[in-house]
Symmetry: C2
Subunit: 440 residues, 2 copies
Amino acid sequence: MVANVAMRTSRVVIVGAGFGGLSAARSLAGAPFDVVLIDRYNYHLFQPLLYQVATAALSPADIASPIRTVFHRHHNVSVVLANVSAIDAGRNEVIAEGRRIPFDYLVVASGAQQAYFGHPDWARDAPGLKTIDDATYLRRRILLAFEKAENEPDPDERRRLLNFVVVGGGATGVELAGAIAELAKYALASDFRTINPRSAQIVLVEAGPRVLSQFDPSLSRYAQRALEQLGVEVRVGAAVTVCDEAGISLGGERIESRTVMWAAGVEASPAGQWLGAQTDRAGRIKVEPDLSLPGLPHIFVIGDMAFRLDGKGRPLPGVAPVAKQQGAYVAHAIAARTAGRSVPPFRYRDYGMLATIGRRRAVAEIGGFKISGFAAWLLWCFAHIYFLIGYRNRLIVMMNWAWNFVTFQRGARLITGMVGAQMKDLKQEVACSHSKREVV
Amino acid sequence: MVANVAMRTSRVVIVGAGFGGLSAARSLAGAPFDVVLIDRYNYHLFQPLLYQVATAALSPADIASPIRTVFHRHHNVSVVLANVSAIDAGRNEVIAEGRRIPFDYLVVASGAQQAYFGHPDWARDAPGLKTIDDATYLRRRILLAFEKAENEPDPDERRRLLNFVVVGGGATGVELAGAIAELAKYALASDFRTINPRSAQIVLVEAGPRVLSQFDPSLSRYAQRALEQLGVEVRVGAAVTVCDEAGISLGGERIESRTVMWAAGVEASPAGQWLGAQTDRAGRIKVEPDLSLPGLPHIFVIGDMAFRLDGKGRPLPGVAPVAKQQGAYVAHAIAARTAGRSVPPFRYRDYGMLATIGRRRAVAEIGGFKISGFAAWLLWCFAHIYFLIGYRNRLIVMMNWAWNFVTFQRGARLITGMVGAQMKDLKQEVACSHSKREVV
């Protein structure tokens, strides 16, 4: 048995190079394992700053790190760019674009996607913010709304174009709403001739009783006030009942808007179905104390994919620190298991939470301390720079922030993708492909 | 008549915010004219550095400046984001997306697009490099070729994937080929496990007898040697006869490649047809000595759109300095004409030419002096930083170059746009829209 282990290095396949998968692969880099890291993108994305790409403050490359570069000195890690479509747990193989990739240990870290709570058709009119392409698409939608308003003779339609609705009062929704308010009030303020961008209305809609519900209620109140001072209308206890291309309804009340953005919820990627595992309502897989699958101790599930209660009986939140700690933990657990040792159950060490509201304020809850205002914002900046991957990205993001702070400008105000006539072509194509589907 | 002029400010409409249009609008900013600047993008693009976006060295936002921001302090300039579809010279109106925009003076500066010399079908297999979307698409193609090669079992197909062909030996082609060679030989060199990116073949194909034919023959020879030292195979006197998805043919000879890029020629945008004007073979409009249209002295055509001979009887080249000087000239001519004065004919002042080959070498021809090597490269860097629009872009580009120079890394190595399954959807859609066209 010992001879056997020496003869063949165990292979660890990691699905997903988000915070969890990257952390697992980094912890195994240089260790005596063959590590295969699979992702459908060629970069690791620093999702917490994605809203800054959507609001033209940063470029995609500033918050993305090529995965191959992260591991280029670690020859035991190979990176595969592919879409995983299934996991064959019987044969210990991951199936990705026709290839079968065998594993001894599997780490499923494929993250979460936008969820529309039984209304998948809302995705078209209320795009979410999970990927780089989502972010540049939202950026396009936001900037084009101002451009269209500038050319729009009908005052009602102009109003709709200058109304922006963000659904979901978690950190992403709060940060997005604040950033759009500042975009309108500062960066765009003097750039138009027939509209006044300052007159844009930003509405943040939250179904629960308060924004930032993960935080202490005092910080939620602070965040709401800070948003309101930026000109954001905050609607709590308001559930979206209708969502279409001209706005949303909150029960009987209608909010007209051409730009509705969704930051209200996520569901786990479909890996739960691939594994035939037991999931919660959000598709998260219920895992053992060591984050392995019940009955399949060589398969681990981490990050937004995993459902596990913390010490107080609450589910672990879908945030980067949880995923990163779980990634490091399973790397450790795999190494221990190979050596015949056992590991204590995973325990999340909560170092705190941060959320920013605009360019000068934030809230933070760090080890029982509650901080708000400019000090919390500085802490937020430092933490985000610190956790970014790669010195170049840190440097460029710092420079961009300094520039934005001093000039109030946004450096990445590009409408990319299709314009004008090309858009029409696309619509025709989509219409055509729809009709084709009906025919088939 | 004088009273009339005082009563109504003349309106100058400028079509296109490239080097020519931007220069005209800047020269008229603050002058007693209503200036309307129309572009189909919301940014001015610094095209000379576009190949660096295609080769992952810079982000799109680093070389693009929001047009509205350029003019936000100049209230006599309004910016319209629209696609111009026609010019009604009889009624003095520009037609853009259904709107009719009247003018007293018109400056047509809508630039050039890729030309395939009677083979428009080659555009699909040999994309060009004129827009930001072109550049991120090329970046995607180049990076994906390496990714596919890494997963490819068939050695012939792997070879095709690691062959890159650049058609056209002008500045863009030379710069692109050099940048791809360095991408393969440095930035990607240690990032793959089954392929060696250093083994990539880059072929530069030029139909004429030498690369950089605008330069002195001694500099062409230097550039060719420098390219060859970077590992680029330079084929001069080689005209492409076939171009398909698996490569190109040069007469009887076949070069297999999955990534063919087109930098071989441009044709003017279709404004010549709109105006019913006399054009040369490349669609450029023949203009009067003051750059106005024959018989329509209030309509000016500048930049890549205009055909005009220089003092030596050669057509003015389609380069940024010509467009910029022409933009400033027509602004001056319009102001003079309104004041009842006349202006001398346009004369191009040629300050010189620059082209870079990789990260340490360039050629320059400045006022009769010929410079090559590292000194020319430094000059190239300074000139490009100097001519970039906006301090933020200058700072960020400088930082990125310094970073790339020291680390050999590329900061913008992102494959964006559709991946995997989404690509298949797109292909279905395109196939579907093709079949639809056949039906209609």
